[in-house]
Amino acid sequence: MNALIRLILASSVLGLFSACNRQESPAAGTIKIGNYGAITGKDGTFGDSSTKATRLAFEEINAAGGILGKQIELVVEDTQSKPGEASTVVKKLITRDNVVALIGEMTSSRSLEGAGVAQAFKIPMISPSGTNPAVTATGDQIFRACFIDPFQGAVLATFARDQLKAHRAAILTSISSAYSTGLADVFRVQFPKAGGTIVSDQKFAEGDKDFKAQLTAIKAANPDVIFLPCYYTEAALVAKQARELGITAPLIGGDGWEAPELVQIGGAAIDGCYYSAHYSAESPDPKVQAFVKKYQARFGGRTPDGMAALGYDAANMLADAIRRAGSAEPAKIRDALAATKGFEGVTGRIDMDADRNASKPAAILTIKGGKFTYVQNVSP
């Protein structure tokens, strides 16, 4: 269904494109870059953190004289966590604002929406944190600054088996999210490979708030660990309801958990659970510490989360590519992005592989007394 809509959209958009030649950005002194994400709504903190960090990166670049002697002009759009909104705002950014490159979205489902449009217009796009493999498979214009779900799922399966010593795992998937189903598919294969068994496989739909039915079925299967690949709002609600039903097994999840709301809504229920993340603000790396200080100074003392770190890296990766391309033409930026090698970001050393995915390490974090605590790093 989604693919069909995207196809129709793309073809209609292409028709327009050939009819009227897109003009070069009228303000010759600036390079326009589009940034879109869910700043409000269910996944609001993702977009908020990410777009703030992206802005911070470009502010620093502009203060240092810009790129190729030009200032960067960032145009930010909000997708409101709504399906369908991403393709609308990407179209607006490309056709009305004439941006030369795009950074967004934070989630996989909406990155997929935006990617279809960006690909049709041949405008390079970096998804800072869309981890589903399908995002970059959309076409040769689409890149990402994060690791992909197969890696994340495998890391979590091994961690559950080796560190948590779990034999029996239950899975609770959000069936309407590309991110969630993608992670679950990997875990379903990797956990048995590591010597465990999947004892219960339950599903829910995005927007659900009642998980007691699924959790009761999971409780009956008596798992040692529950794999919960979803975003923070659902993760917190599931944790609360699981503890209410008397389930004591730890929950583990992916990078979608990372937001202060996880602890605010989940409270004590989420304590002792684990998730994989892109970076930890506690890392002793001087690059990380410098970034944390700058972000806190700029945004009222708030500690940057993984989404912020990725938004920052995506912006710097793009700036690096424009610098190497020596031009702000979309086609040249794309080629330079594809050639990224050994880029030192705050989330680690990034190489672009042949499928335009970033190859880089993951961190495992736990929640202790309402605080995110670093456990260990896992390299590819």
Binding site: T40, G41, K42, I175, F204, D210, T216, K219, L237, G246
Partner: protein
């Protein structure tokens, strides 16, 4: 077996919340013959009111919890009366379709009004009632589930008493039977309708707080899905019938919970709504509704 009983408890607490909402739909339909689509958003306002009031009462106490509940009910009752006075009363003689469109307008106004003032990000709802877990053999019951069931039972009982034992209740029944004849015997139509809205909205407000207690993440659009389900429950039970609304809500809650816990959990909404179609095919007036021929 214990899993079955556990699911039954889950179903009961979910059904109880749907019932509180469904009663409001069915009551308004009874006196005005239209579906008040803004009802689900009154439910949302109830939850938000609860979260504001909760900041000013001691959390985790029975008294504080009841204060939050009653404050939300009072605010929603006033809101319901205001909505009726400002949006629906001027349209009393207009075709039903106009009122229906207005109801959708009011619904959007409430949703985006709250989004404008409170923001679109989901916020957490504090635990206003004391939280404990009871272990009954293999079954686990949380105090929140008990609160939901107890409050719903008390409110439905109170409603039954108001409608069948008080003069205003008798007037409501009279208006629902025949508005014109009720006016002829001296019943003030405006008072009765305003009272119906106050009553229905107070129940929705209580439902909002109870829902937020069980699923402690609230946002301006939280009413949409429960509202739709409660509407279906009201139709299922026979719109205009109070016991029907409660029965419909319990059936829907049960169907949803049992499908949700099975291998077909993804289809839980499809099956719940499919059930509606099947029942409508065999009983067009709903389970407890009476099929009346439209008088011309």
């Amino acid at each position: 077996m214990s899993e079955f009983l556990q699911q039954l408890i889950n179903a009961l607490s979910l059904g109880a919340i749907y019932a509180l909402l469904a009663l409001g739909y069915t009551m308004v339909y009874g006196v005005l013959r239209f579906i008040n689509f803004a009802h689900a958003d009154v439910f949302m306002v109830g939850a938000f009111t609860g979260s504001y009031v909760a900041k000013h009462v001691p959390s985790g106490t029975l008294l504080g919890g009841l204060a939050v509940l009653f404050a939300a009910m009072a605010v929603c009752a006033v809101l319901g009366v205001l909505i009726e006075r400002l949006a629906y009363r001027p349209l009393r003689r207009a075709p039903v379709l106009n009122v229906l469109i207005t109801a959708i307008g009011v619904s959007l106004l409430l949703e985006y009004g709250v989004q404008l003032t409170a923001g679109a990000n989901p916020r957490s709802f504090p635990a206003v009632f004391p939280v404990t877990r009871f272990q009954l053999g293999p079954l686990t019951v949380s105090s929140n589930q008990l609160v939901v069931i107890a409050v719903a039972l008390a409110l439905v009982g109170g409603l039954q008493w108001i409608i069948y034992r008080t003069r205003l209740g008798a007037a409501m029944r009279a208006v629902s039977l025949n508005p014109r004849a009720a006016q002829l015997v001296g019943i003030n139509l405006n008072t009765v309708i305003a009272f119906t809205f106050a009553l229905g909205s107070a129940l929705a407000g209580a439902g909002g707080v109870l829902y937020a207690l069980n699923y402690p993440s609230i946002d301006p659009f939280m009413g949409v899905m429960p509202g739709l389900k409660a509407f279906v429950a009201a139709i299922l039970g026979g719109i205009g019938s109070l016991p029907g609304a409660a029965l419909g809500a319990l059936i829907l809650g049960t169907a949803e919970t049992f499908v949700g816990g099975s291998a077909y959990s993804t289809y839980k909404d499809a099956i719940a709504f499919g059930l509606l179609i099947v029942i409508m095919l065999f009983r067009p007036a709903g389970l407890l509704g009476r099929f009346t021929v439209e008088k011309v």
